[in-house]
């Protein structure tokens, strides 16, 4: 039997869904296609689907609504195809529970990389801890996962670079656990195909400058004895 992951592609554009299916099959995945939400539901009942690639803009029931209903009933990862450059789509998409997003027109190879990353993560992590939803609160800060922004107690937004965001998220998801530089590199590279060559130490010091009350005497991000960092504060997920 074929144990390669089964991907469901939902897109109203026939060319795109058929070509994408061919492309994924060519790269060793199984693929089914659906042209709308209804057909997608039918397929999900008929076969075991490992991941759904879903276009946000579809006639009839749109991708966001479908994602929300999938989230309520099942535990299937979703990658959303959003309109290009549309921040709102991206944020709403992550808020309704999509695992990742890619703006259209996308690079097929990047989509493939994201599919693999999400599948890998889905195997390792229980869905409840999936990123992209809600807020992580620590000290006087709130980290909004969908907006990828840090808010202080006055609601002032303190922007993080993508690297800083991933690093902070990796630490916040494992409070108290010492993570080596290699582990951090590994964790923060997860969602990105581009090489992540900014040194971890630099990013840690920039993060400290942003969130620590006294960056020279950090109380949140501790340097672990030896070769790593850990988050020492208390983290609440909302």
């Amino acid at each position: 039997m074929d144990h390669s992951p089964h991907i469901l592609i939902v897109d109203d554009q026939r060319d795109i869904r058929d070509l994408l299916a061919r492309f994924l099959v060519k790269h060793g995945l199984r693929a089914s296609v659906a042209e709308n939400a209804e057909a997608a539901r039918k397929l999900m009942r008929a076969a075991k689907i490992d991941l759904i690639v879903l276009d946000i803009m579809m006639p009839g029931e749109d991708g966001l609504t479908l994602t929300r209903s999938i989230r309520e009933n099942q535990d299937i990862p979703v990658i959303l195809l959003t309109a290009m450059g549309d921040e709102t789509d991206r944020i709403v998409g992550l808020e309704v529970g999509a695992d990742d997003y890619l703006p259209k027109p996308f690079n097929p190879r990047e989509l493939l990389a994201r599919i693999k990353a999400v599948l890998r993560r889905a195997r390792v992590m229980p869905r409840a801890a999936a990123p992209g939803r809600g807020q992580l609160c620590f000290d006087r800060w709130k980290l909004d996962l969908a907006r990828r922004e840090l808010l202080d107690e006055h609601g002032v937004s303190v922007a993080l670079s993508s690297g800083e965001f991933r690093l902070l998220l990796a630490l916040l998801e494992r409070p108290g656990m010492v993570l080596t530089r290699d582990q951090l590199l590994d964790l923060t590279r997860g969602r990105s195909v581009q090489p992540f060559d900014r040194s971890i130490d630099n990013q840690i010091s920039r993060l400290r400058r942003k969130i620590e009350r006294d960056p020279r005497n950090p109380s949140l991000i501790k340097t672990a004895w030896g070769d790593g960092y850990s988050f020492a504060g208390e983290v609440q997920r909302r």
Binding site: I16, L19, L20, M84, S161
Partner: protein, 455 residues
């Protein structure tokens, strides 16, 4: 004329004061003569009454008292003495009616009363007196024969007319000031909508966001504001229609580009495949730029308090993570109210330009009295002076250095400027003296101030 004030309020105040001066002068001319006549009549009547009383007293008292009585009745202006002869000739009576009235009052025959009042005008007399310093002869003379047969001779000098004194001047100044102040305040109040309108027109021209003008107040300003609001909404609808069309075109390109990218993945010829992917990437960049430009701030991102320094630093870090040679010079924390995604796009464009045309780019933040500036310096070739404004026009790319295959649709600067202006700021370019270009993304400080108040 230099004295003529520039503002409407000043002009109206000056005009009102001028009118007041003219009115006061006319009033003065009209009433000055009247005032002198009234004064003269009162003076004359007083003199007559005094003479009548004196004559009666003299005729009923013993002669020893006469000198003392005369001295009491005299004054600096009224000279009285008793003599054997009158100072006026018989029959002299000018005007006769006054002489007759005097005679009746004294119960004497008209022959015993002689009177002469100078016919030359009071003021003429008065002026002559002041000019010549000597007495020009009495203004009025009276001779009355007493029962004793002696003549009572009286002559009166012209009394000085009391001046229109400082009271008049003070009252004039007070009313002038009051009129000027009320005029200025009134105009200030009335021209406030005008200033508002001018400001709104300026902001509209710059593409800033602002609330519609209030359609209240007096009819004229209300009409002007209504007309302005209508013009603005028509203008915005017109622009919106065109950008919607542009956005739709760019948006619809997504599907064919995605399809072509997928098809390219099945091409076996490696070289052809990479060429096609390159072209597609370029098409995508252009479509994205057009879409970003067309959309502008149409995404309706809310304005939020943002740590500007952290925002700029994170944008620079993200660019650096993509392999761009760009550095951020640290600076203190600044909080301002803005739309961070829009700012991210604008600054991202400027940094892309800087790292594209130069080898290195450096980003700093500086604060002046009026604005906070994000400076993006590069070490590239700069831009000819005459093209510094031109490059902001959409779809403009300079010949030579900015040829077609350098990518981009020539919209980066236009987008950055439109975002800056919608924040009330601007983007400016200048060539640095040491070479390279400096892009200045300026935001007004009052935006910063407003947040500081909230925090």
């Amino acid at each position: 004329m230099r004295l003529w004030p520039k503002s409407l309020a000043g002009r109206l105040a000056a005009f009102l004061v001028l009118t007041l001066v003219v009115a006061q002068v006319v009033t003065f001319v009209l009433f000055a003569g009247e005032r002198v006549t009234t004064f003269r009549n009162a003076y004359r009547d007083d003199m007559v009454t005094r003479l009548v009383s004196l004559v009666r007293l003299l005729e009923e008292t013993p002669p020893e008292l006469h000198q003392r009585l005369i001295a009491t009745a005299s004054s600096a202006l009224l000279h009285i003495d008793l003599a054997a002869e009158p100072i006026l000739l018989s029959g002299e009576a000018a005007p006769p009616d006054l002489r007759d009235r005097l005679a009746v009052a004294l119960h004497k025959s008209t022959d015993d009363v002689r009177l002469a009042v100078s016919l030359s005008g009071w003021r003429a007399q008065h002026r002559k007196m002041q000019r010549n310093r000597h007495r020009p002869g009495p203004w009025a003379s009276v001779s009355v024969r007493l029962a004793s047969g002696k003549w009572l001779n009286a002559s009166a000098d012209v009394p000085p007319v009391p001046r229109l004194g400082s009271v008049f001047l003070v009252s004039f100044l007070i009313s002038a000031l009051a009129v000027a102040a009320v005029g200025a305040l009134g105009v200030k109040w009335a021209s406030k909508p005008l200033n508002q309108l001018a400001g709104a027109a300026e902001r509209l021209g710059r593409g800033e966001r602002f609330d519609p003008l209030p359609e209240t107040g007096p009819r004229e300003t209300r009409q002007a504001n209504v007309a302005f609001n209508q013009m603005r909404s028509r203008l915005e609808r017109f622009i919106r229609d065109r950008t919607t069309m542009l956005a739709a075109v760019a948006h619809d390109l997504r599907t064919p580009i995605t399809t072509l990218r997928l098809r390219a993945e099945f091409i076996d010829d490696k070289e052809a495949k990479s060429k096609i992917l390159e072209t597609l990437a370029e098409m995508q960049t252009m479509a994205e730029a057009v879409l970003a430009f067309a959309r502008g701030d149409a995404e309706n991102e809310p304005t939020r308090p943002v740590d500007l320094t952290a925002l700029v630093e994170s944008i620079v870090e993200d660019a650096a993570a993509k392999g761009k040679h760009v550095r951020f010079t640290e600076s203190q924390k600044r909080t301002l109210s803005c739309r961070p995604f829009a700012l991210r796009r604008a600054l991202g464009n400027l940094i892309d330009n800087a790292t594209f045309y130069g080898r290195n780019a450096e980003v700093t933040i500086e604060t002046t009295a009026n604005e906070t500036r994000i400076l993006i310096d590069d070490d590239g070739p700069g831009i000819p002076k005459e093209a510094l404004e031109h490059v902001f026009d959409p779809f403009v790319r300079l010949e030579g250095s900015r040829s077609r295959d350098t990518g981009g649709a020539g919209l980066g600067l236009a987008i950055a400027r439109s975002i800056a202006r919608s924040h009330g700021g601007d983007v400016r370019l200048e060539n640095r003296p040491q070479g390279g270009l400096r892009a200045i993304f300026a935001l007004p400080n009052d935006v910063l101030g407003r947040v500081a108040d909230q925090a």
